[in-house]
């Protein structure tokens, strides 16, 4: 009998397809209610930090250099109160084989897929992760399919995503390009079922464990060159894996005092699944359109339980406007001689402002960069913005309206960050848990899970449950 390939039927087979495609049974970590055993899931990936370092070293991933951005630090101090203006450092992840930190995630996923005997890997991604998986798959002798959300209904594609497609094909991958819509997941499931390949999801324990080396390296590198841990590590936040893995790596290195700050480009008001708004964005990642929903509901990902749980590790979350990121991208090229892709510089723009709040002897680390290239370049992205009716203005970035204009700061003093209220974010996460699991009472175990998963305490979680009328 032929399999029913209708949308509903395929989505209905989601769990069965995923079990085969990830080679792990998530139900082992589930408890009865809301929570699950996150640490057990992370431990049972079967790889220690040492093993991951070895796996990544095999394919040339990691051990990326640190730059002290002396000129940008000096520039920030021009706008800081006396005695303020922390030293800004940058970890140059762009020198990984495919040009971004995503190689760390892809390295462990592809190693794992190969070890389990899969013939190929599939990743659903429009970003750098696709090229990372394609590159690592090439090194490990695996076939690779990358599924992208790339075009609007007029067939106009985001130049940044088209560039990623080119890069995937350069490594011998097949690229399936789709128009806008979350039903990409349907195509993804069909492909997994058809090929029997491994789901090289961004959100498996192996993928996140792959990023732990990034945080660990930062701690080790700073102990060696500065004799201490950094005060702040700032991470561009989208799906949450970069932040989660980096924070876990810092903790594993014992850098427990280091604060972890997330930063996203503010795209408030643009609907991510809207055909019309798709090409009104000038960033395809690192933005609030992923950052906020994945923080308030991480289990929306392509695996039953996401190993990327940013709220567990975030000390602070800020947003920056698109224009400020483009400004800092240009400043990085002009003052530090480093030409790097715009999206990865989101955390740099935030660091420039946050450094001004910190003391001069403090250290703030921007923990990634990404490659730049055709399509993935500020000129390409701003040209595309203009073609899509976006006004490019030099002025006050606080007046930027995503989808209408991009405001480049008049001078660096206009670069600012906007705080995301973390307690509000935590409240949304708890509300989503209650809604998703449809419970009217929370067990002792779940209460403790919610505290951990929101990096908060019992008093806070109980106050939210009271608000929602949920017993505990």
């Amino acid at each position: 009998m032929e399999k029913d390939m209708s949308y509903e039927a395929v989505m209905g087979r989601n769990f069965e397809i995923m079990r085969k495609a990830v080679g792990m049974d998530y139900s082992r970590f589930e408890s009865k209610g809301i929570g699950f055993d996150y640490e057990k899931m992370m431990e049972e990936t079967g790889y220690t930090l040492e093993e991951i370092k070895r796996i990544q070293a095999e394919t040339g991933v990691g051990n990326t250099p640190i730059y002290e951005l002396r000129n940008l630090t000096k520039l920030a101090r021009n706008f800081a109160p006396k005695g303020k203006g922390a030293r800004i450092f940058l970890k140059d992840e762009a020198v990984n084989p495919s040009g971004s930190f995503k190689d760390r995630r892809a390295a462990t996923s592809c190693y794992h897929a190969k070890r389990l005997g899969y013939k190929g890997v599939i990743a659903a991604t429009s970003g750098n992760y696709g090229s990372a998986v394609a590159s690592q798959a090439a090194m490990r002798g695996l076939k690779c399919i990358v599924v992208q959300e790339c075009y609007d209904s007029k067939g106009v594609g985001q130049p940044e995503i088209i560039e990623k497609a080119r890069k995937c094909e350069a490594h011998g991958a097949e690229v399936v390009q789709l128009t806008v819509g979350p039903e990409l997941f349907y195509t993804f499931l069909v492909l997994l079922e058809e090929t029997g390949y491994f789901n090289a999801s961004l959100y498996t324990p192996f993928a996140i464990a792959g990023v732990e080396t990034l945080g660990y390296e930062i701690a080790m590198q700073f102990r060696e060159r500065e004799g201490r841990d950094p005060d702040v590590v700032i991470v561009t936040n989208a799906g949450g894996g970069n932040l989660t893995g980096t924070a876990r790596g810092l903790i594993k290195a014992g850098a427990k005092e280091t604060k972890v700050i997330g930063a996203s480009v503010n795209l408030t008001g643009l609907h991510m699944a809207s055909d019309i708004q798709f090409n009104k964005k000038s960033f395809t990642t690192g933005h609030t359109g992923f950052g906020i929903p994945f923080t308030t509901w991480p289990d929306r990902s392509d695996v039953p339980r996401s190993a990327a749980r940013p709220l567990r590790y975030m000390d602070r979350y800020v947003t920056v406007n698109q224009g400020s990121v483009f400004y800092m991208t240009e400043a990085l090229a002009q003052l530090e001689g480093l030409e790097r892709g715009p999206a990865g510089n989101t955390s740099l723009a935030a660091a420039f402002k946050i450094a001004q709040e910190l003391d001069e002897d403090q250290i703030i680390v921007v923990q990634e960069t990404e490659y730049t290239g055709a399509g993935k370049h500020l000129n390409a992205q701003l040209t595309f913005a203009k073609e899509n009716g976006i006004d490019i203005i030099i002025g006050d970035p606080r007046e930027e309206i995503p989808g209408k204009n991009i405001i480049l700061p008049k001078d660096p003093g206009y670069i600012s960050v906007e705080e995301v209220d973390l307690n509000r974010t935590r409240r949304s996460y708890i509300r989503n848990c209650i809604k998703h699991y449809n419970v009217d009472k929370v067990s002792e175990e779940d209460l403790s899970f919610l505290c951990q998963d929101t990096k908060s305490h019992e008093v806070f979680v109980k106050s939210v449950l009271d608000e929602l009328g949920i017993k505990y």
Partner: protein, 101 residues
């Protein structure tokens, strides 16, 4: 004949028709189909643009769709000159100069 067997081509197909989209997608997206493009080697003996064909992708998967391009290539680039960006380098350099560098 636009393409012969073995030519590297690009095909297009609709995955979900308009009106059959997931209930969660916004209205503007509901009104349009979910479309797909894939590249591969043409398996048919010969075909013209617009014909329904079969291809073998680079990794060996067989896919069907409408032929849209022969020897497809990338047209993305570094964009046009964006005059609005030209002040930035001069500005940041002069701010550092004022600092007594």
């Amino acid at each position: 004949m636009d393409a012969r067997k073995g030519d590297w081509v690009r095909i297009h197909d609709a995955v979900l028709e308009a009106g059959k989209r997931a209930p969660s997608v916004p209205e503007d997206t509901q009104r349009v189909p979910l479309e797909m493009w894939v590249k591969g080697f043409l398996l048919d003996e010969g075909a013209n643009i617009g014909d329904r064909v079969k291809i073998e992708t680079y990794i060996g998967r067989i896919v069907e769709g409408v032929l849209v391009e022969v020897n497809p290539y990338y047209k993305h680039d570094f964009g046009k000159c964006v005059p609005e960006l030209l002040y930035i380098g001069k500005q940041v350099r002069s701010l550092l100069d004022e600092d007594g560098e």
